[in-house]
């Protein structure tokens, strides 16, 4: 191709020369004349190639070859760039993989896009769950769905040593979702016809392989769920994990609810509202039409209820993915993506600076190419090709890093989570798919453009004339861009470091928090009510068990339920937390009753109208007075049972209680809120249904845990749902703070590292650039110290500018976060954390400048000046 073009043009030239000679010109003159008229042969060739449209391909190949040979000569540079970008890309890909698995990947059901969960809200914007009767009526009258099913969860149950989570589902659940069986059969409508029908279950494929080791004889096997024997009739198709956020292990017919539920029967006279309704929308309706029809139905259906319980609007939530892509989800995901994206951005800024420095070093080459007639767009394209050539391996490495960091993160969690809570940590598989891959490629190309375009434009800006004369510095001033990049980097890393410092201190505060309850030597047991009396007797008779107590809720996790109280007649009402506790609760946790007395056994059994207040509650209700002997008014609101739904013992039925004791403050509610703001202890016993049981044991807690577990599992299988040492309960509640601390420290550290290497690179480069100037200064008598100080000052300028911007941004961000999250232990304003973050960033930037400054101070004036 190339030689043909050459030959064709040569033929033309020869013919033209011949013609001139024929006209009487001397051969030498003829040649000169022709070549003068012809112009640049190379240029004509270039234009011919352009015309053929194939040129871009050739150019790209040429540029790629050129770039590769260039990087072959500077492998260190190429490796640094690839590693830096790969880190940024890898982290972001890991995050996106997780987001993708939960929010973007469609559920493994047929036609997931038509699947919606239906609920309605009342005027207080409270959601609604269905009672059995309501669901049946809806199923008959339903104006918008082709098919509807309902489900609700079965609490964690221990089966053959494994925690299992399942749903009670209506008979059409599997056919509605279009999910088939891998082994045996799925649940059928016949399975769920009448309450109390044959106890059968379908396992998830994951549970079958992880918890039953792919037992080939699984069909027909009987497993105890909450102590009830249930026969496995099938394994659901691979990849189906139910339609809730947490992957499920089994499904049983809803008609088993009375056997598996502890609470009032779904089919009983109280008609508890417990069912979630999911359906497949009719094809002839748009989402809006369906919502309209459902709103009308819900309003009609609730018209005869009290005002506050009437439906105002129907809500349809997409069930196409594990978590629907709703505005709230996006709002929650955006800050996380921003944080990770910023790390990538820093990496890009770093590389942009390196490319800029490299482009400067190549000014002579670029100038010569410009002078030779290469177009500027052509050169920019070539420099961008170099960026892309670097981005491709960076993307590949990033992909590997993302897979590795996900595995490493899971390993870290598996190895640090309190062992008793391991089985709660179930995640859906995080396989990167085509979507993740496309996002990766897009991010890689985008970052290549980000770090490549500014240097490419800057580098090709030089003037041909100056380049030809060998002057490269006068017209070439990327200093401003470089400074902007560095200040930007420092800004982001200051932001990260401050947030990390604040979070580290939150975690530190959490770990050092005095919970007021002595957890060592205490076990927490969750018992099924059916076996409660017998199990308690057995536990009590164990020689190593000292005391047994009961309470309506275990400490540290979840908020205390609240009820409006008032100090006396006519005084102001406010919502206060309450906890039912047996007398031994105070002994077991070594929670001292400071004044007054404990509940008597008689008061505990009778549920007498007496209460013990925490110190803070007493001070809040009777400031400056003695609360002891006073009486507290309790205003139970029958229309607000929602917040109390999880507590089987609702607020007390009596309207006033006598205060008989004051206990020291402790953490009975969520650990993130610190010691309870308010806590009213009301009497109960360990025997009362629904109560969590605590046992103080002698000797090794873990040993006692195992022994009690084996003993109860042998005597009454299914009686014990969970057993944990209270130490682990606390550790599990503190775990999220540790995880947050790791994540923020890792991101902060990475940002700092990238910024350090950025500052170091730029200053080293500046020192090299200014060798001549520095040499002259030193020849004129500048002391090495002064020269070093000059470099340090420059770094300090970057750092201070970045610190000012980043610090301001961090202040704003923390203020927003503090206003958004409801967590007392987050604290209002952590000046120490903010100061520490700022100081670290400034100190680190100065440290990064130290080596370049030493190099500047060590410049030999004589050798430098002789250099040119």
């Amino acid at each position: 191709m190339e030689t043909e073009l050459e030959e064709e043009l040569q033929f033309h030239v020869d013919m033209a020369v011949r013609k001139q000679i024929a006209a009487g010109m001397r051969p030498v003159e003829a040649r000169r004349e022709v070549s003068k008229r012809f112009g640049g042969v190379e240029q004509v060739k270039e234009e011919c190639r352009d015309m053929r449209g194939l040129r871009w391909m050739e150019t790209i190949l040429q540029d790629v070859r050129y770039a590769l040979s260039g990087f072959g000569r500077t492998p260190g540079f190429a490796l640094t760039v690839v590693a830096t970008i790969a880190l940024g890309l890898g982290l972001n890909t890991a995050l996106f993989t997780i987001f993708n698995a939960y929010v973007l990947q469609p559920l493994r059901v047929s036609d997931p896009d038509r699947l919606y969960q239906f609920t309605w809200t009342n005027r207080n914007l409270q959601g609604h769950e269905f009672s059995w009767r309501e669901f049946q009526e809806f199923q008959k009258q339903n104006p918008a769905f082709a098919d509807v099913a309902a489900f609700h969860r079965v609490s964690f149950s221990r089966v053959e040593g494994h925690l299992m989570l399942g749903h009670l589902v209506t008979g059409n659940y599997f056919s509605m979702l279009g999910v088939s069986a891998l082994r045996g059969r799925t649940l059928l409508p016949e399975d769920a016809e009448v309450p109390g029908s044959a106890p059968v279950a379908v396992l998830s494929a994951d549970a079958w392989s992880k918890k039953f080791a792919r037992d080939p004889n699984i069909i027909g096997k009987q497993i105890p769920i909450h102590g009830r024997r249930v026969q496995i009739v099938g394994v659901a198709q691979d990849g189906f994990r139910g339609i809730s956020e947490v992957p499920l292990d089994f499904w049983v017919p809803v008609t088993l609810a009375p056997q598996l539920d502890e609470e009032a029967s779904l089919f009983g006279p109280t008609q508890p509202e417990r069912l979630t309704v999911v359906g497949r929308l009719r094809r002839d309706l748009t989402l809006r039409q369906a919502e309209g029809a459902l709103t009308a139905w819900a309003q009609r259906h609730t018209a005869d209820r009290p005002e506050a319980a009437r439906a105002t609007r129907a809500i349809l939530r997409s069930k196409a993915t594990t978590i629907p892509l709703e505005p709230e989800i996006v709002a929650a995901a955006v800050p996380v993506f921003l944080a990770f994206g910023m790390v990538l951005l820093i990496a890009c800024a770093n590389v942009a600076n390196m490319m800029l420095a490299r482009a400067m070093a190549r000014q002579r080459e670029i100038g010569i190419r410009l002078a030779m007639g290469a177009g500027r767009p052509r050169l920019i394209r070539q420099l961008l090709t170099e960026s892309i050539v670097l981005a491709v391996p960076a993307g590949a490495a990033g992909f590997a890093i993302s897979g590795q960091s996900i595995r490493w993160g899971q390993w870290l969690i598996l190895n640090t989570i309190p062992s008793g809570y391991l089985e709660f940590f179930t995640v859906i598989p995080l396989q990167p798919d085509a979507r993740v891959f496309c996002m990766m490629v897009a991010a890689a190309v985008l970052s290549a453009l980000l770090f490549g375009i500014a240097p490419a434009i800057q580098a090709t800006r030089s003037n041909v004339m100056q380049a030809a004369r060998g002057e490269f510095t006068t017209d070439f001033r990327p200093a401003r861009l470089r400074s902007a990049l560095i200040v930007g980097q420092v800004t982001v890393s200051v932001l990260f470091l401050i947030c990390a410092a604040v979070l580290i201190r939150v975690n530190d505060r959490m770990q050092r928090l005095d919970v007021g309850l002595q957890t060592r030597g205490v076990l927490e047991l969750n018992l099924q009510d059916r076996f409660r009396a017998r199990a308690l007797q057995e536990v009590n008779s164990d020689p190593d068990v000292e005391t047994i107590a009961g309470a309506s809720k275990f400490p540290f996790g979840g908020y205390l339920p609240r009820v409006p109280v008032a100090a006396g007649q006519g005084s102001e009402q406010f919502p206060a937390g309450y906890l039912y506790a047996s007398p031994a609760y105070f002994q077991i946790f070594r929670l001292p009753i400071l004044r007054g007395r404990n509940f008597t056994p008689e008061e505990a059994t009778a549920g007498a109208a007496v209460a013990i207040l925490s110190e803070a509650t007493a001070a809040r209700l009777w400031p400056g007075h003695d609360a002891l002997g006073q009486s507290l008014r309790i205003q139970a609101n029958p229309l607000q049972p929602h917040s109390l739904r999880d507590v089987r013992q609702g607020p007390p039925t009596y309207s006033s209680v006598a205060i008989i004791g004051i206990a020291r403050d402790a953490v009975n509610g969520w650990v993130g809120d610190g010691p309870d703001q308010t806590c009213i202890y009301l009497p109960t016993t360990a025997l009362a249904p629904g109560n969590v049981v605590f046992a103080r044991v002698r000797g090794d807690t873990k040993v006692a845990e195992r022994r009690l577990d084996t003993m109860l599992t042998a005597s009454s299988p299914g009686a014990l749902d969970q057993i944990h040492p209270m130490n682990e309960v606390l550790a599990a509640q503190l775990y999220p703070f540790r995880a947050l601390y790791w994540t923020s420290s890792a991101l902060g550290g990475l940002a700092l590292l990238l910024t350090l290497s950025g500052i170091y690179g730029v200053l080293s480069y500046v020192v090299t650039q200014r060798r001549k100037e520095i040499g002259i200064r030193m020849a004129l008598g500048a002391r090495p110290g002064a020269v070093a100080a000059m470099v340090l000052r420059q770094s300090l300028r970057f750092a201070l500018a970045g610190a000012a911007i980043g610090g301001t941004a961090a202040l704003g961000l923390l203020r927003v976060v503090a206003s958004q999250i409801d967590m007392k232990m987050f604290g209002s304003f952590d000046w120490v954390g903010i100061g520490a973050g700022l100081l670290l960033a400034v100190a680190a930037s100065t440290a990064a400048a130290w080596l370049p400054s030493r190099r500047a101070a060590g410049i030999e004036p004589v050798s430098t000046l002789r250099c040119d």
């Binding site: 064709e8 033929f11 033309h12 008229r37």
Partner: protein, 111 residues
């Protein structure tokens, strides 16, 4: 920028001239430029710098086809031949040109 606009102006007419020159028989580039100069009685000078890019473009557009042959002097040369699409294009462009010049002529006569 300036150069580009001159080239654009030339392009349309040069294409027409090349197509017309090739109407009778296949020719190599040199012969095309000589033919155009001869027939126009040296009024139209074809710049080699535009001729070859134009030939390659026309070939790329599928109006002419090229193959290597032996020139009248016995040297290897690249001969261009008008194909069916090219003939159609020539007819079209010639018509347009005739209308164009006629219109300009009318304006000049009347103005």
């Amino acid at each position: 920028m300036k150069q580009r606009s001159r080239l654009d102006l030339l392009q349309g007419t040069l294409d027409l001239l090349i197509l017309r020159a090739l109407q009778t028989e296949p020719m190599h580039g040199w012969a095309i430029s000589e033919r155009i100069q001869q027939i126009s009685q040296e009024v139209l000078q074809v710049n080699q710098g535009s001729l070859y890019p134009a030939l390659h473009r026309l070939e790329h557009q599928g109006w002419i086809e090229a193959e290597w042959g032996i020139s009248e002097l016995g040297r290897r040369a690249r001969f261009y031949r008008l194909n069916a699409a090219g003939r159609k294009q020539l007819e079209l462009e010639a018509n347009q040109w005739a209308r164009f010049t006629a219109a300009i002529g009318r304006v000049l006569d009347l103005a």
